[in-house]
Symmetry: C2
Subunit: 289 residues, 2 copies
Amino acid sequence: MLSIPRFGRMALKQVSSSKSFGGFQKVFEHDSVELKCKMKFAVYLPPKAESAKCPVLYFLSGLTCTEQNFITKSGFQQAASEHGLIVIAPDTSPRGCNIKGEDDSWDFGTGAGFYVDATEDPWKTNYRMYSYVTEELPQLVNANFPVDPQRTSIFGHSMGGHGALICTLKNPGKYKSVSAFAPICNPMLCVWSKKAFGEFLGPDQNKWKAYDATHLVKSYTGSQLDILIDQGKADEFYDQLLPENFIAACTEKKIPVVFRLQEGYDHGYYFIATFIADHIRHHAKYLNA
Amino acid sequence: MLSIPRFGRMALKQVSSSKSFGGFQKVFEHDSVELKCKMKFAVYLPPKAESAKCPVLYFLSGLTCTEQNFITKSGFQQAASEHGLIVIAPDTSPRGCNIKGEDDSWDFGTGAGFYVDATEDPWKTNYRMYSYVTEELPQLVNANFPVDPQRTSIFGHSMGGHGALICTLKNPGKYKSVSAFAPICNPMLCVWSKKAFGEFLGPDQNKWKAYDATHLVKSYTGSQLDILIDQGKADEFYDQLLPENFIAACTEKKIPVVFRLQEGYDHGYYFIATFIADHIRHHAKYLNA
Protein backbone atom coordinates (compact mmCIF):
# COMPACT_ATOMS: atom_id res chain seq x y z
CA MET A 1 0.00 0.00 0.00
CA LEU A 2 1.42 3.34 -1.02
CA SER A 3 1.01 5.98 1.62
CA ILE A 4 1.62 9.63 0.89
CA PRO A 5 3.13 11.31 3.92
CA ARG A 6 0.84 14.23 4.69
CA PHE A 7 3.14 15.43 7.43
CA GLY A 8 6.53 13.84 6.79
CA ARG A 9 8.03 16.71 4.87
CA MET A 10 7.37 19.38 7.47
CA ALA A 11 10.54 21.00 8.81
CA LEU A 12 11.96 19.94 12.13
CA LYS A 13 14.01 22.30 14.27
CA GLN A 14 16.41 20.72 16.73
CA VAL A 15 16.01 22.32 20.17
CA SER A 16 18.59 20.30 22.09
CA SER A 17 20.87 17.29 21.80
CA SER A 18 22.81 15.56 24.59
CA LYS A 19 24.78 12.36 24.45
CA SER A 20 23.25 9.74 26.72
CA PHE A 21 24.30 6.11 27.18
CA GLY A 22 26.24 6.18 23.91
CA GLY A 23 23.30 7.56 21.92
CA PHE A 24 21.63 10.96 21.82
CA GLN A 25 18.66 12.45 23.65
CA LYS A 26 17.26 15.13 21.38
CA VAL A 27 14.28 17.47 21.38
CA PHE A 28 12.71 18.87 18.22
CA GLU A 29 10.12 21.51 17.47
CA HIS A 30 7.75 21.59 14.49
CA ASP A 31 4.58 23.26 13.24
CA SER A 32 1.85 20.72 13.84
CA VAL A 33 -0.81 20.44 11.11
CA GLU A 34 -3.22 18.56 13.39
CA LEU A 35 -2.85 20.85 16.38
CA LYS A 36 -2.22 24.12 14.54
CA CYS A 37 0.56 25.21 16.89
CA LYS A 38 4.26 24.68 17.48
CA MET A 39 4.91 21.37 19.22
CA LYS A 40 7.99 19.86 20.80
CA PHE A 41 8.77 16.17 21.01
CA ALA A 42 11.73 14.17 22.30
CA VAL A 43 13.67 11.51 20.39
CA TYR A 44 16.20 9.11 21.87
CA LEU A 45 18.53 7.64 19.27
CA PRO A 46 20.42 4.59 20.56
CA PRO A 47 24.00 3.91 19.38
CA LYS A 48 22.61 1.29 17.00
CA ALA A 49 20.72 4.00 15.06
CA GLU A 50 24.02 5.28 13.66
CA SER A 51 24.30 2.24 11.41
CA ALA A 52 20.90 0.56 11.20
CA LYS A 53 17.16 1.16 11.18
CA CYS A 54 15.75 0.61 14.64
CA PRO A 55 12.34 -0.17 16.09
CA VAL A 56 10.46 2.77 17.58
CA LEU A 57 8.71 2.97 20.94
CA TYR A 58 6.32 5.81 21.83
CA PHE A 59 5.88 6.97 25.43
CA LEU A 60 2.79 9.03 26.27
CA SER A 61 3.09 11.12 29.43
CA GLY A 62 0.62 11.99 32.15
CA LEU A 63 -1.21 15.12 33.29
CA THR A 64 0.84 18.35 33.47
CA CYS A 65 3.84 16.82 31.69
CA THR A 66 5.72 18.16 28.69
CA GLU A 67 8.13 16.18 26.52
CA GLN A 68 10.73 16.75 29.28
CA ASN A 69 9.45 14.78 32.28
CA PHE A 70 9.95 11.30 30.90
CA ILE A 71 13.32 11.99 29.32
CA THR A 72 14.80 13.65 32.42
CA LYS A 73 13.29 11.51 35.18
CA SER A 74 12.64 7.93 34.06
CA GLY A 75 16.19 6.83 33.17
CA PHE A 76 14.78 4.89 30.18
CA GLN A 77 17.82 5.67 28.03
CA GLN A 78 19.94 2.94 29.63
CA ALA A 79 17.61 0.14 28.56
CA ALA A 80 16.75 1.76 25.20
CA SER A 81 20.47 1.98 24.44
CA GLU A 82 20.99 -1.69 25.33
CA HIS A 83 18.03 -2.92 23.27
CA GLY A 84 18.59 -0.57 20.32
CA LEU A 85 15.21 1.18 20.47
CA ILE A 86 14.38 4.68 19.26
CA VAL A 87 12.06 6.23 21.84
CA ILE A 88 9.68 9.11 21.09
CA ALA A 89 8.11 11.21 23.85
CA PRO A 90 5.54 13.77 22.64
CA ASP A 91 4.07 16.63 24.63
CA THR A 92 0.66 16.08 26.27
CA SER A 93 -1.43 18.83 24.66
CA PRO A 94 -1.36 21.67 22.16
CA ARG A 95 0.53 24.69 23.47
CA GLY A 96 -0.08 28.40 23.31
CA CYS A 97 -3.41 28.27 21.46
CA ASN A 98 -4.90 30.94 23.73
CA ILE A 99 -8.22 29.18 24.13
CA LYS A 100 -10.34 30.60 26.95
CA GLY A 101 -10.17 28.28 29.98
CA GLU A 102 -7.18 26.34 28.60
CA ASP A 103 -4.91 27.24 31.51
CA ASP A 104 -7.46 27.39 34.33
CA SER A 105 -6.81 23.96 35.85
CA TRP A 106 -3.95 21.46 35.98
CA ASP A 107 -6.12 18.53 34.92
CA PHE A 108 -7.74 20.01 31.81
CA GLY A 109 -6.53 21.85 28.73
CA THR A 110 -2.84 22.70 28.58
CA GLY A 111 -0.88 19.62 29.69
CA ALA A 112 -4.05 17.54 29.64
CA GLY A 113 -5.12 16.68 26.10
CA PHE A 114 -6.24 13.16 27.09
CA TYR A 115 -5.24 11.76 23.68
CA VAL A 116 -8.65 12.38 22.09
CA ASP A 117 -9.77 14.30 18.99
CA ALA A 118 -12.10 16.96 20.36
CA THR A 119 -15.40 17.43 18.55
CA GLU A 120 -16.69 20.39 20.55
CA ASP A 121 -16.03 24.12 20.44
CA PRO A 122 -13.73 25.77 21.40
CA TRP A 123 -11.44 22.70 21.50
CA LYS A 124 -12.02 20.90 18.20
CA THR A 125 -9.58 22.98 16.13
CA ASN A 126 -6.50 22.32 18.25
CA TYR A 127 -7.14 19.51 20.70
CA ARG A 128 -6.55 16.58 18.33
CA MET A 129 -3.92 14.67 20.31
CA TYR A 130 -5.26 11.27 19.18
CA SER A 131 -4.58 12.02 15.52
CA TYR A 132 -1.33 13.74 16.45
CA VAL A 133 0.18 10.76 18.27
CA THR A 134 -1.19 8.05 15.97
CA GLU A 135 -0.80 9.77 12.56
CA GLU A 136 1.07 13.05 12.29
CA LEU A 137 3.90 12.32 14.69
CA PRO A 138 4.63 8.78 13.40
CA GLN A 139 4.75 10.08 9.79
CA LEU A 140 7.13 12.82 10.86
CA VAL A 141 9.28 10.38 12.82
CA ASN A 142 9.30 7.76 10.07
CA ALA A 143 10.36 10.36 7.50
CA ASN A 144 13.14 11.93 9.56
CA PHE A 145 14.77 9.23 11.68
CA PRO A 146 16.22 5.76 10.98
CA VAL A 147 13.15 3.85 12.14
CA ASP A 148 11.58 0.65 10.88
CA PRO A 149 7.87 1.66 10.96
CA GLN A 150 6.81 -1.98 10.86
CA ARG A 151 8.24 -2.32 14.36
CA THR A 152 6.38 0.26 16.45
CA SER A 153 5.19 -0.08 20.05
CA ILE A 154 3.68 2.22 22.65
CA PHE A 155 3.52 2.74 26.38
CA GLY A 156 2.65 5.49 28.81
CA HIS A 157 1.92 6.70 32.31
CA SER A 158 -1.40 7.62 33.95
CA MET A 159 -3.28 9.75 31.35
CA GLY A 160 -0.59 8.52 28.92
CA GLY A 161 -1.20 4.91 29.98
CA HIS A 162 -4.82 5.48 28.95
CA GLY A 163 -3.46 6.92 25.70
CA ALA A 164 -1.24 3.91 25.02
CA LEU A 165 -4.09 1.47 25.68
CA ILE A 166 -6.64 3.23 23.46
CA CYS A 167 -4.16 3.80 20.61
CA THR A 168 -3.45 0.06 20.63
CA LEU A 169 -7.05 -1.08 20.95
CA LYS A 170 -8.30 1.30 18.22
CA ASN A 171 -5.56 0.32 15.75
CA PRO A 172 -5.13 -3.46 15.69
CA GLY A 173 -1.72 -4.40 14.30
CA LYS A 174 -0.30 -0.86 14.39
CA TYR A 175 1.65 -1.49 17.61
CA LYS A 176 3.61 -4.68 18.27
CA SER A 177 3.23 -4.34 22.02
CA VAL A 178 1.74 -2.12 24.71
CA SER A 179 2.41 -1.46 28.38
CA ALA A 180 1.48 1.13 30.97
CA PHE A 181 2.39 2.54 34.36
CA ALA A 182 -0.63 3.30 36.52
CA PRO A 183 -2.94 3.93 33.53
CA ILE A 184 -6.37 5.54 33.68
CA CYS A 185 -8.17 2.37 32.63
CA ASN A 186 -11.81 3.37 32.56
CA PRO A 187 -11.82 7.13 31.92
CA MET A 188 -15.62 7.39 31.65
CA LEU A 189 -15.72 6.72 35.38
CA CYS A 190 -12.68 8.81 36.41
CA VAL A 191 -13.18 12.36 37.75
CA TRP A 192 -10.32 13.84 35.68
CA SER A 193 -11.39 12.39 32.38
CA LYS A 194 -15.15 12.77 32.87
CA LYS A 195 -14.54 16.50 33.03
CA ALA A 196 -12.22 16.41 30.00
CA PHE A 197 -14.39 14.07 27.90
CA GLY A 198 -17.43 16.25 28.58
CA GLU A 199 -15.60 19.35 27.35
CA PHE A 200 -13.83 17.72 24.40
CA LEU A 201 -16.51 15.27 23.24
CA GLY A 202 -19.78 16.73 24.51
CA PRO A 203 -22.38 15.34 26.90
CA ASP A 204 -23.31 12.17 24.94
CA GLN A 205 -21.44 9.48 26.83
CA ASN A 206 -21.81 7.02 23.94
CA LYS A 207 -19.17 9.10 22.15
CA TRP A 208 -16.84 8.75 25.13
CA LYS A 209 -16.72 4.96 24.73
CA ALA A 210 -14.50 5.35 21.65
CA TYR A 211 -11.74 6.57 23.97
CA ASP A 212 -12.25 4.27 26.95
CA ALA A 213 -9.93 1.24 27.14
CA THR A 214 -12.34 -0.80 29.23
CA HIS A 215 -15.09 -0.28 26.64
CA LEU A 216 -12.79 -0.70 23.65
CA VAL A 217 -11.44 -4.03 24.83
CA LYS A 218 -14.97 -5.46 24.91
CA SER A 219 -15.25 -5.12 21.14
CA TYR A 220 -11.59 -5.74 20.29
CA THR A 221 -11.15 -8.25 17.47
CA GLY A 222 -7.53 -7.56 16.48
CA SER A 223 -4.40 -9.64 16.82
CA GLN A 224 -3.27 -11.19 20.09
CA LEU A 225 -2.19 -8.68 22.74
CA ASP A 226 0.23 -9.15 25.64
CA ILE A 227 -0.40 -6.22 27.96
CA LEU A 228 1.95 -5.33 30.84
CA ILE A 229 0.65 -2.97 33.54
CA ASP A 230 2.52 -1.88 36.66
CA GLN A 231 0.47 -0.22 39.37
CA GLY A 232 1.78 1.17 42.65
CA LYS A 233 -0.21 -0.08 45.62
CA ALA A 234 0.45 3.21 47.48
CA ASP A 235 -0.62 5.28 44.46
CA GLU A 236 -2.34 8.40 45.78
CA PHE A 237 -4.64 8.40 42.71
CA TYR A 238 -5.47 4.69 42.73
CA ASP A 239 -9.23 5.38 43.09
CA GLN A 240 -9.25 7.24 39.76
CA LEU A 241 -7.45 4.59 37.73
CA LEU A 242 -9.84 1.60 37.96
CA PRO A 243 -7.48 -1.10 36.65
CA GLU A 244 -9.80 -3.81 37.99
CA ASN A 245 -12.51 -2.80 35.49
CA PHE A 246 -10.07 -3.13 32.61
CA ILE A 247 -8.70 -6.46 33.81
CA ALA A 248 -12.22 -7.85 34.19
CA ALA A 249 -13.04 -6.83 30.61
CA CYS A 250 -9.79 -8.38 29.34
CA THR A 251 -10.44 -11.58 31.27
CA GLU A 252 -13.88 -11.86 29.70
CA LYS A 253 -12.31 -11.48 26.25
CA LYS A 254 -9.47 -13.89 27.14
CA ILE A 255 -6.87 -11.16 26.52
CA PRO A 256 -3.88 -11.77 28.79
CA VAL A 257 -2.83 -8.90 31.06
CA VAL A 258 0.21 -9.06 33.30
CA PHE A 259 -0.93 -6.76 36.11
CA ARG A 260 1.71 -6.18 38.77
CA LEU A 261 0.52 -4.46 41.93
CA GLN A 262 3.76 -3.04 43.34
CA GLU A 263 3.77 -2.83 47.14
CA GLY A 264 4.61 0.63 48.52
CA TYR A 265 5.05 2.50 45.22
CA ASP A 266 3.27 5.79 44.52
CA HIS A 267 2.18 7.47 41.25
CA GLY A 268 5.39 9.33 40.44
CA TYR A 269 8.61 8.98 38.48
CA TYR A 270 10.49 7.06 41.21
CA PHE A 271 7.93 4.31 40.57
CA ILE A 272 8.39 4.55 36.79
CA ALA A 273 12.20 4.58 37.03
CA THR A 274 12.17 1.46 39.19
CA PHE A 275 10.32 -0.61 36.58
CA ILE A 276 11.25 1.11 33.31
CA ALA A 277 13.82 -1.54 32.37
CA ASP A 278 11.14 -4.25 32.68
CA HIS A 279 8.86 -2.34 30.32
CA ILE A 280 11.58 -1.69 27.74
CA ARG A 281 12.45 -5.41 27.88
CA HIS A 282 8.76 -6.28 27.37
CA HIS A 283 8.67 -4.16 24.21
CA ALA A 284 12.10 -5.30 22.97
CA LYS A 285 10.87 -8.90 23.05
CA TYR A 286 8.38 -8.02 20.30
CA LEU A 287 10.26 -5.23 18.54
CA ASN A 288 13.50 -7.19 18.18
CA ALA A 289 11.84 -10.55 17.52
CA MET B 1 37.32 9.20 70.67
CA LEU B 2 34.08 10.44 72.14
CA SER B 3 32.35 13.00 70.01
CA ILE B 4 29.42 15.00 71.30
CA PRO B 5 26.93 15.62 68.53
CA ARG B 6 26.42 19.36 68.40
CA PHE B 7 23.76 19.03 65.74
CA GLY B 8 22.53 15.45 65.91
CA ARG B 9 19.56 16.06 68.14
CA MET B 10 17.95 18.77 66.01
CA ALA B 11 14.50 17.86 64.75
CA LEU B 12 14.03 16.60 61.23
CA LYS B 13 10.79 17.08 59.34
CA GLN B 14 10.05 14.64 56.54
CA VAL B 15 9.00 16.55 53.41
CA SER B 16 8.50 13.59 51.05
CA SER B 17 9.04 9.86 50.75
CA SER B 18 8.73 7.70 47.65
CA LYS B 19 9.61 4.07 47.19
CA SER B 20 12.41 3.67 44.66
CA PHE B 21 14.22 0.48 43.64
CA GLY B 22 13.01 -1.30 46.74
CA GLY B 23 14.22 1.45 49.08
CA PHE B 24 12.99 4.96 49.79
CA GLN B 25 13.90 8.34 48.37
CA LYS B 26 13.14 10.86 51.09
CA VAL B 27 13.57 14.59 51.59
CA PHE B 28 13.88 16.21 55.03
CA GLU B 29 13.89 19.77 56.31
CA HIS B 30 15.68 21.07 59.39
CA ASP B 31 16.80 24.29 61.06
CA SER B 32 20.49 24.56 60.27
CA VAL B 33 22.72 25.83 63.06
CA GLU B 34 25.62 26.59 60.69
CA LEU B 35 23.53 28.34 58.05
CA LYS B 36 20.88 29.87 60.29
CA CYS B 37 18.03 29.02 57.98
CA LYS B 38 15.76 26.11 57.09
CA MET B 39 17.54 23.62 54.86
CA LYS B 40 16.35 20.61 52.89
CA PHE B 41 18.40 17.55 52.11
CA ALA B 42 17.64 14.26 50.38
CA VAL B 43 18.29 10.77 51.75
CA TYR B 44 18.10 7.54 49.79
CA LEU B 45 17.67 4.49 52.00
CA PRO B 46 18.43 1.24 50.17
CA PRO B 47 16.48 -1.95 51.02
CA LYS B 48 19.45 -3.13 53.08
CA ALA B 49 18.98 -0.20 55.50
CA GLU B 50 15.82 -1.86 56.85
CA SER B 51 17.92 -4.47 58.63
CA ALA B 52 21.53 -3.25 58.81
CA LYS B 53 23.73 -0.20 59.15
CA CYS B 54 24.90 0.94 55.73
CA PRO B 55 27.77 3.02 54.40
CA VAL B 56 26.91 6.59 53.46
CA LEU B 57 27.80 8.46 50.28
CA TYR B 58 27.40 12.25 49.95
CA PHE B 59 26.67 13.87 46.59
CA LEU B 60 27.34 17.61 46.25
CA SER B 61 25.45 19.30 43.41
CA GLY B 62 26.41 22.03 40.98
CA LEU B 63 25.40 25.65 40.42
CA THR B 64 21.66 26.46 40.59
CA CYS B 65 20.75 23.03 41.95
CA THR B 66 18.66 22.20 44.99
CA GLU B 67 18.51 18.81 46.70
CA GLN B 68 16.10 17.77 43.90
CA ASN B 69 18.22 17.74 40.73
CA PHE B 70 20.42 14.77 41.57
CA ILE B 71 17.64 12.63 43.03
CA THR B 72 15.23 13.17 40.11
CA LYS B 73 17.65 13.15 37.16
CA SER B 74 20.71 10.98 37.79
CA GLY B 75 19.05 7.59 38.31
CA PHE B 76 21.59 6.82 41.07
CA GLN B 77 19.02 4.90 43.12
CA GLN B 78 19.36 1.74 41.01
CA ALA B 79 23.07 1.29 41.81
CA ALA B 80 22.73 2.55 45.40
CA SER B 81 20.01 -0.05 45.95
CA GLU B 82 22.18 -2.83 44.53
CA HIS B 83 25.26 -1.88 46.56
CA GLY B 84 23.37 -1.07 49.78
CA LEU B 85 24.51 2.54 50.10
CA ILE B 86 22.68 5.37 51.85
CA VAL B 87 23.07 8.47 49.65
CA ILE B 88 22.74 12.03 50.96
CA ALA B 89 22.19 15.00 48.63
CA PRO B 90 22.26 18.40 50.34
CA ASP B 91 21.15 21.71 48.88
CA THR B 92 23.83 23.99 47.38
CA SER B 93 23.46 27.13 49.49
CA PRO B 94 21.55 28.68 52.38
CA ARG B 95 17.99 29.62 51.39
CA GLY B 96 15.83 32.60 52.12
CA CYS B 97 18.36 34.59 54.13
CA ASN B 98 17.37 37.82 52.37
CA ILE B 99 20.94 39.03 51.91
CA LYS B 100 21.24 41.91 49.44
CA GLY B 101 22.57 40.63 46.12
CA GLU B 102 21.94 36.96 47.02
CA ASP B 103 19.52 36.39 44.15
CA ASP B 104 21.04 38.70 41.51
CA SER B 105 22.92 36.10 39.49
CA TRP B 106 22.66 32.38 38.83
CA ASP B 107 26.34 31.71 39.60
CA PHE B 108 26.62 33.44 42.97
CA GLY B 109 24.67 33.41 46.23
CA THR B 110 21.47 31.37 46.26
CA GLY B 111 22.20 28.01 44.60
CA ALA B 112 25.90 28.81 44.55
CA GLY B 113 27.49 28.48 47.99
CA PHE B 114 30.71 26.98 46.56
CA TYR B 115 31.20 24.81 49.67
CA VAL B 116 33.27 27.43 51.53
CA ASP B 117 32.87 29.10 54.94
CA ALA B 118 32.55 32.78 54.08
CA THR B 119 34.64 35.20 56.15
CA GLU B 120 33.33 38.44 54.67
CA ASP B 121 30.21 40.52 55.26
CA PRO B 122 27.38 40.18 54.43
CA TRP B 123 27.93 36.47 53.76
CA LYS B 124 29.82 35.15 56.78
CA THR B 125 26.77 34.56 59.01
CA ASN B 126 24.94 32.21 56.63
CA TYR B 127 27.24 31.06 53.83
CA ARG B 128 29.03 28.28 55.72
CA MET B 129 28.42 25.40 53.34
CA TYR B 130 31.83 23.83 54.04
CA SER B 131 31.06 23.33 57.73
CA TYR B 132 27.51 22.37 56.87
CA VAL B 133 28.44 19.49 54.55
CA THR B 134 31.45 18.26 56.51
CA GLU B 135 30.18 18.67 60.09
CA GLU B 136 26.55 19.59 60.72
CA LEU B 137 24.93 17.41 58.08
CA PRO B 138 27.02 14.28 58.80
CA GLN B 139 26.24 14.56 62.53
CA LEU B 140 22.55 14.92 61.74
CA VAL B 141 22.65 11.99 59.32
CA ASN B 142 24.65 9.77 61.65
CA ALA B 143 22.24 10.45 64.51
CA ASN B 144 19.05 9.87 62.54
CA PHE B 145 19.67 7.14 59.96
CA PRO B 146 21.14 3.63 60.07
CA VAL B 147 24.59 4.64 58.81
CA ASP B 148 28.04 3.37 59.70
CA PRO B 149 29.93 6.70 59.99
CA GLN B 150 33.27 4.91 59.61
CA ARG B 151 32.28 4.18 56.03
CA THR B 152 31.62 7.58 54.45
CA SER B 153 32.49 8.71 50.92
CA ILE B 154 31.75 11.75 48.79
CA PHE B 155 31.26 12.76 45.18
CA GLY B 156 29.78 15.62 43.22
CA HIS B 157 29.22 17.49 39.98
CA SER B 158 30.80 20.70 38.70
CA MET B 159 30.79 23.13 41.69
CA GLY B 160 29.91 20.03 43.74
CA GLY B 161 32.84 18.12 42.22
CA HIS B 162 35.03 20.92 43.53
CA GLY B 163 33.27 20.50 46.87
CA ALA B 164 33.88 16.75 46.97
CA LEU B 165 37.58 17.16 46.14
CA ILE B 166 38.25 19.87 48.74
CA CYS B 167 36.27 18.10 51.49
CA THR B 168 38.42 15.01 50.88
CA LEU B 169 41.75 16.82 50.62
CA LYS B 170 41.10 18.95 53.73
CA ASN B 171 40.03 15.99 55.86
CA PRO B 172 42.39 13.06 55.35
CA GLY B 173 40.75 9.80 56.37
CA LYS B 174 37.24 11.24 56.70
CA TYR B 175 36.12 9.89 53.34
CA LYS B 176 36.97 6.39 52.12
CA SER B 177 36.76 7.44 48.47
CA VAL B 178 36.07 10.41 46.23
CA SER B 179 34.90 10.94 42.65
CA ALA B 180 33.57 13.75 40.52
CA PHE B 181 31.70 14.57 37.34
CA ALA B 182 33.18 17.55 35.48
CA PRO B 183 34.54 19.18 38.68
CA ILE B 184 35.80 22.75 38.96
CA CYS B 185 39.38 21.68 39.64
CA ASN B 186 41.23 24.95 40.08
CA PRO B 187 38.61 27.46 41.24
CA MET B 188 41.12 30.29 41.76
CA LEU B 189 41.41 30.43 37.98
CA CYS B 190 37.74 29.86 37.10
CA VAL B 191 35.51 32.86 36.32
CA TRP B 192 32.57 31.56 38.39
CA SER B 193 34.55 30.85 41.52
CA LYS B 194 36.90 33.85 41.31
CA LYS B 195 33.80 36.00 41.65
CA ALA B 196 32.43 33.87 44.50
CA PHE B 197 35.74 33.49 46.37
CA GLY B 198 36.29 37.26 46.19
CA GLU B 199 32.88 37.91 47.73
CA PHE B 200 32.96 35.12 50.31
CA LEU B 201 36.66 35.16 51.28
CA GLY B 202 37.83 38.67 50.41
CA PRO B 203 40.51 39.88 48.01
CA ASP B 204 43.52 38.07 49.55
CA GLN B 205 44.01 35.16 47.18
CA ASN B 206 46.19 33.30 49.69
CA LYS B 207 42.98 32.61 51.61
CA TRP B 208 41.40 31.15 48.48
CA LYS B 209 44.03 28.39 48.34
CA ALA B 210 42.38 26.64 51.28
CA TYR B 211 39.41 25.88 49.00
CA ASP B 212 41.24 25.08 45.76
CA ALA B 213 41.74 21.36 45.01
CA THR B 214 44.77 21.96 42.78
CA HIS B 215 46.49 23.89 45.58
CA LEU B 216 45.34 21.54 48.34
CA VAL B 217 46.67 18.45 46.60
CA LYS B 218 50.17 19.97 46.52
CA SER B 219 50.36 19.86 50.32
CA TYR B 220 48.28 16.71 50.86
CA THR B 221 49.93 14.26 53.23
CA GLY B 222 46.96 12.04 54.10
CA SER B 223 46.19 8.43 53.29
CA GLN B 224 46.30 7.02 49.77
CA LEU B 225 43.59 8.37 47.45
CA ASP B 226 42.06 6.75 44.38
CA ILE B 227 40.28 9.56 42.54
CA LEU B 228 37.82 8.94 39.70
CA ILE B 229 36.90 11.87 37.45
CA ASP B 230 34.62 11.75 34.42
CA GLN B 231 34.72 14.75 32.10
CA GLY B 232 32.63 15.24 28.97
CA LYS B 233 34.72 16.21 25.98
CA ALA B 234 31.82 18.29 24.59
CA ASP B 235 31.29 20.05 27.93
CA GLU B 236 30.20 23.60 27.18
CA PHE B 237 32.01 24.79 30.34
CA TYR B 238 35.21 22.83 29.83
CA ASP B 239 37.33 26.01 29.81
CA GLN B 240 36.24 26.84 33.35
CA LEU B 241 36.98 23.44 34.87
CA LEU B 242 40.76 23.08 34.35
CA PRO B 243 41.09 19.37 35.13
CA GLU B 244 44.56 19.32 33.55
CA ASN B 245 45.90 21.58 36.32
CA PHE B 246 44.60 19.22 38.98
CA ILE B 247 45.92 16.13 37.23
CA ALA B 248 49.36 17.71 36.85
CA ALA B 249 49.43 18.49 40.58
CA CYS B 250 48.32 14.93 41.42
CA THR B 251 50.92 13.44 39.10
CA GLU B 252 53.65 15.44 40.80
CA LYS B 253 52.46 14.11 44.17
CA LYS B 254 52.14 10.57 42.77
CA ILE B 255 48.42 10.54 43.64
CA PRO B 256 46.60 8.32 41.15
CA VAL B 257 43.69 9.88 39.24
CA VAL B 258 41.53 7.94 36.83
CA PHE B 259 40.53 10.74 34.46
CA ARG B 260 38.11 9.66 31.75
CA LEU B 261 37.53 12.14 28.96
CA GLN B 262 34.18 11.05 27.58
CA GLU B 263 33.79 11.73 23.87
CA GLY B 264 30.67 13.71 22.94
CA TYR B 265 29.23 14.22 26.44
CA ASP B 266 28.17 17.65 27.71
CA HIS B 267 27.96 19.12 31.25
CA GLY B 268 24.43 18.01 32.11
CA TYR B 269 22.55 15.23 33.81
CA TYR B 270 22.41 12.94 30.75
CA PHE B 271 26.20 12.75 31.14
CA ILE B 272 25.93 12.05 34.87
CA ALA B 273 23.21 9.42 34.41
CA THR B 274 25.33 7.60 31.82
CA PHE B 275 28.25 7.09 34.21
CA ILE B 276 26.57 7.16 37.63
CA ALA B 277 26.69 3.37 38.02
CA ASP B 278 30.48 3.43 37.49
CA HIS B 279 30.87 6.03 40.23
CA ILE B 280 28.66 4.18 42.70
CA ARG B 281 30.67 1.02 41.99
CA HIS B 282 33.92 2.95 42.59
CA HIS B 283 32.67 4.02 46.01
CA ALA B 284 31.14 0.65 46.87
CA LYS B 285 34.54 -0.98 46.34
CA TYR B 286 35.85 0.99 49.34
CA LEU B 287 32.65 1.34 51.35
CA ASN B 288 31.77 -2.34 51.23
CA ALA B 289 35.38 -3.59 51.50
